[in-house]
């Protein structure tokens, strides 16, 4: 058989389902060994924020923008939970896997390319974010948030946002040379975004430039969409929020693939 005919016999393409499935199976089997700790941190952290802010500030502030403060924070911390369960595991997990465990070298020796590897890993993180993101909302329901049928849109919103944050984390991990440098990203990027997202307080009383910057914050758009879903209060501006999150997800996905390819292929 000539080289040419061999090539024609086994044509492989980009983003193939078996390659994505292989990487996802690895993630799922691995997840079985650490799901308890991952679930604990991804649910307890935002719940503590919800309880601390909701009942702490809630005793001082009865309502915000017409919502009970516990409801306001309960819906806002969905975005926090998404961030904690996507950007953080993606940053640290990716770095550990390619630098210390050399897991990606092993996977790339199989018929999987970097695009498939990054896509599958980010999809898995997004699924987790879509699931864990709902926890604060469920806790808020226990504390008085009225269930609405439109809340079924919260997991997909959290999934799309989580996919973008997973790509962000992968990009950071593939770009920085040391895990110590993650502190710059945590303090310089994530913390400001986390605080200026409309999670704990509304932004409309802040300076105009802060409000403009917030429009570039994916977490802000997540919060707005989650509130629209949780309170069934949709408006035309939600198209802008949804569009921003989709573009954020797609842009971060491609950026992550590009940076990881540079890192993994000499």
């Amino acid at each position: 058989m000539s080289a040419e005919s061999v090539s024609q016999a086994r044509e492989l393409h980009r983003l193939e389902r078996p390659a994505l499935a292989g990487v996802l199976v690895r993630e799922i089997i691995n997840f079985r060994s650490f799901w308890r700790s991952a679930t604990f941190s991804s649910t307890v952290d935002p719940t503590i924020y919800l309880l601390a802010f909701g009942f702490g500030f809630g005793s001082l502030v009865s309502s915000v923008n017409g919502y009970d403060y516990v409801e306001y924070v309960g819906t806002g911390t969905v975005a926090t939970a998404v961030l904690f369960s996507s950007a953080m595991p993606s940053m640290f997990g990716t770095f550990v896997k390619y630098r210390f465990q050399r897991t990606y070298d092993a996977i790339l020796a199989a018929p999987v390319d970097t695009e498939e590897l990054v896509t599958a890993e980010n999809l898995w993180i997004a699924v987790r974010a879509g699931t864990y993101g709902c926890v604060p909302m469920l806790v808020a329901i226990v504390f008085g948030l009225t269930p609405e049928w439109t809340m079924i849109f919260v997991p997909p919103i959290a999934f799309v946002s989580g996919f973008g944050w997973a790509g962000f984390g992968t990009t950071v991990a593939a770009t920085l040379d040391s895990i110590d440098n993650f502190s710059y990203v945590m303090s310089g990027v994530i913390t400001p975004m986390f605080l200026v997202a409309g999670t704990f307080f509304p932004l409309n009383n802040l300076a105009t430039w802060v409000q403009v910057l917030a429009q570039l914050n994916p977490l802000y758009h997540t919060v707005q969409l989650v509130r629209a879903a949780a309170f069934d209060s949709w408006s035309a501006v939600d198209i802008w929020h949804a569009g921003f999150l989709i573009v954020f997800g797609l842009a971060m996905w491609r950026l992550a693939i590009w940076r990881m390819t540079l890192r993994l292929v000499d």
């Binding site: 090539s7 690895r26 691995n30 465990q101 070298d105 790339l108 199989a110 390319d113």
Partner: protein, 302 residues
């Protein structure tokens, strides 16, 4: 094909730079199907970079690479589907069990649902890890982990196995076990490319050895042929204090013979070395691949 053997691996003029460093320098390499080729060279010779180019984890700056008939890097994914790779550094999933590690790779290598479990069982048998199937990898010994790495590379019955320093850092007994395993693959007709800096490993397992130095292949052939061509049939080991050894080196050079220091002796290479030095301080022995390696690379064996 004009009677020429089919090639599992074919490299022509491969060049790979890392910044200003030329890691691989115009390398030509053939691995005929069904044979074991040993890539022998000192640390930094370019062996690992060469292995990485074969899985497209390093893209050459120049040259042509074909693996199992596929042209790399364009068709690398197709080639990898039919290759098994045993890396130099352990990259097993340490929190998973032996069986889970194999199962993950049965999925990654796209085995069908009905094929996966039999493939895992076969790989466990090959690596003699059946009774360790439920053991977490971080509880295994170094030798067992190496066997598992080999089993993982074989789970999909590859046509070509790439072994990058397969026994580095292992004790002699474990090394023997792995040699038996690799020899079994070779006997089964699997094509093997194995990089190593252990002379004995190359000598025992490889049908053909390519000696690399500074990124280039400097000699290629069956081990016995390389020995005959570069070191003759006999080597004279001359023992003595350092001043005496210096004198022997001078005399040998004067007679047009090559030498190498081997601790307390000087090895004088060449079939007519006998008779040049006193018989009571010298011993003749058969020339070996180590003599060839040191003479060609200028590097002592670890």
């Amino acid at each position: 094909m004009h009677g020429e053997p089919a090639l599992a691996v074919r490299l022509r003029g491969v060049v790979k730079f890392y910044g200003a460093i030329k890691a691989v320098n115009g390398l030509d390499l053939d691995v005929p199907e069904g044979t074991c080729v040993g890539l022998l060279g000192p640390n930094g010779a370019g062996k690992s970079t060469t292995m990485k180019t074969l899985t497209a984890q390093a893209i050459p700056d120049k040259g042509d690479i074909q693996v199992l008939g596929y042209t790399l890097p364009r068709e690398s994914k197709q080639a990898r589907a039919e290759c098994g790779v045993v890396p130099q550094l352990d990259n097993l999933d340490t929190t998973l069990t032996v069986e889970q590690n194999l199962l993950v790779f049965a999925y990654l290598y796209r085995l069908g649902r009905a094929e996966r479990q039999p493939a895992v069982e076969r790989a466990l048998e090959i690596a003699n890890l059946v009774d360790r199937r439920d053991t977490r990898v971080d509880k295994l010994s170094g030798g067992m982990r190496r066997r598992l790495l080999i089993a993982r590379a074989l789970v999909h019955r590859p046509r070509l196995v790439l072994l990058d320093e397969p026994t580095v850092g292992l004790d002699p007994q474990v090394r023997q076990e792995l040699w038996a395993l690799i020899d079994g693959l070779r006997s089964a007709g699997v094509s093997i490319l194995m990089s190593t800096h252990y002379i004995e490993e190359a000598e025992r397992l490889a049908d053909t050895v390519t000696i690399m130095s500074k990124g280039s292949a400097i000699a290629t052939g069956p081990p016995h042929q390389l020995v005959r061509e570069y070191a003759g049939s006999e080597v004279l080991e001359v023992y003595g204090p350092p001043p005496r050894l210096q004198e022997v080196e001078r005399d040998a050079a004067g007679a047009g013979l090559r030498t190498r220091r081997t601790g307390t002796s000087v090895a004088v290479v060449g079939d007519h070395a006998n008779g040049l030095f006193e018989a009571d301080s010298s011993v003749a022995r058969a020339a070996n691949l180590e003599d060839v390696f040191v003479l060609l690379t200028g590097e002592e064996v670890e």
